[in-house]
Amino acid sequence: MNIPSELKYTKDHEWVKIDGDIATVGITDFAQSELGDIVYVDVDTLDETVEREEIFGSVEAVKTVSDLFMPLSGEVIEFNEDLEDSPETVNSDPYGEGWMIKIKISDSSQIDSLLDAEAYKSVIGA
């Protein structure tokens, strides 16, 4: 199971890459593997400010659907539109081309509450 050490994580199996006040968000390798073939990423909160742990969208696999939760409070400033045509990228490259949204972080103190790779590893029992 690939868990890059430079990223932050949530217990909801999302990864977060912090770059100044911008956070890039996707789902982990573990999450994509549990979901199976992903066929649809639905983000309906673009340009909205959403609180931490609120739902910003959903990811649909053939057999199941799962909510996507904000890892940090902020404005959803970008959605990876390439996923509209090729949602399977989330399966093949979850930490790269399969990123989902970018957030303009509204409260940087929340960053400390994110998990590091070691802590996430213990969440999934890896």
Binding site: G36, D37, V39, Y40, D44, E60, V62, K63, V65
Partner: protein, 360 residues
């Protein structure tokens, strides 16, 4: 949790195993889409040994079967199989099943794993004519070898000419070095192929030889997830989803297996229902916008009022769109009607279509 005789093999293949109907079953090996395509285009093999098998024998076997099942089993000849259901006394369905006729005094009933105990008790309760019943469920394994290349790929394993076994007929013959295997031209995928029944002690050899024989045809092991998308593309009912103790076979579009040429449990009421017409119907629908319907989502009219419930739904791997089955009042059931599926906060339009979704 029960295991099939092949669970250790599925584990070794890296399958994702889930509890299903009391059994540990492989839900996926490589990926649902690739497994789905393998069955549509080539050939795949499923371990569906969780299914239940009851042997009904003796001079009163047919009388019992006629009493508990909705289809007319007296029309079968030796070597024929028949899809049927067990109606209950309240207008619903105890289970759907396949009945195999070996001879006029020997029949095999193949039932859903989740209903083995319920069906056994139900049929036993109505066995006033004392037909002999044996529950073989724990002794027999079932492999479904499905796909357009199944006959060609498996031909080297048997002396029977597989291409001559007609749909819904079967042979008892040698297969993969085992004698007396039931080779049945049936399945739950709509892509053709066979279901083979053998003893638990024999199934590992059969599985291995099936994979070996299918190698040059691109055979893959297929999990329950793809089994579900394959059956749903065909509009086949799944017990527990699309049919249950409260759905009438007539509402479910199973009028073709509900034959009033004989009496059976609740046939009077079902006959009356047929004459008066049903109030709701199981329909197939395709979403006309992006989205995926799921089991238990609401079906709503254009004003957002609930008119029904989705019983099965998925993204169709073959059609690349959201498809589903659900019950709606008859006035919405016409092909071409527009309905809406409530998917979270949205209402996504859908069109009622003729089944199957996948036309091959």
């Amino acid at each position: 949790m029960k295991k099939t005789a092949l669970t250790h093999i599925h584990e070794a293949l890296g399958a994702k195993l889930i509890p299903f109907a009391g059994y540990t079953m492989p839900v996926q090996y490589e990926g649902i889409n690739i497994e789905h395509e393998t069955v549509r285009n080539n050939v795949g093999v499923f371990d569906v040994s969780h299914m239940g098998e009851f042997l009904i024998t003796g001079p009163n076997a047919l009388e019992l079967i006629q009493k508990v099942s909705s289809n007319d089993a007296s029309k079968m000849v030796d070597g024929q199989a028949q899809y049927s259901c067990l109606p209950n006394e309240n207008g619903g369905i105890v289970d759907d099943l396949i009945i195999y006729r070996f001879n006029e005094e020997k029949y095999l009933l193949v039932v859903n794993a989740s209903n083995i105990d319920k069906d056994w008790d139900w049929i036993s309760k109505h066995n006033s004519m004392n037909a002999e019943m044996r529950n073989l469920s724990d002794d027999y394994s079932l492999l479904a070898i499905q796909g357009p290349k199944a006959a060609e790929a498996m031909q080297s394993l048997t002396s029977v000419n597989l291409s001559t076994i007609k749909f819904y007929t079967f042979e008892v013959a040698d297969f993969a070095g085992i004698e007396h295997v039931i080779i049945s031209a049936t399945g739950y995928t709509g892509s053709g192929g066979f279901e083979v029944y053998c003893k638990n002690s024999e199934v590992e050899q059969v599985w291995n030889k099936v994979l070996e024989a299918g190698k040059n045809y691109g055979i893959k092991p297929i999990g329950l997830a793809a089994r579900d998308t394959l059956r749903l593309e065909m509009g086949y009912c799944l017990y527990g989803n699309d049919i249950n103790d409260d759905t009438s076979p007539l509402e479910a579009g199973l009028g073709w297996i509900t034959k009033f040429t004989k009496d059976f449990i609740n046939s009077e009421n079902l006959k009356k229902q047929k004459e008066e017409g049903v109030k709701r119907k199981l329909i197939g629908f395709e979403l006309t916008e992006k989205g995926i319907p799921r089991h238990d989502y609401d079906i709503v009219d254009n004003d957002g009022e609930k008119i029904g419930t989705v019983t099965s739904g998925t993204m169709s791997p073959s059609l690349r769109k959201g498809i589903g089955l659900g019950y709606v009042p008859v006035e919405y059931a016409k092909t071409g009607s527009t309905i809406n599926i409530a998917i979270r906060k949205k209402s996504i339009p859908a069109t009622v279509v003729k089944l199957p979704f996948y036309k091959g």
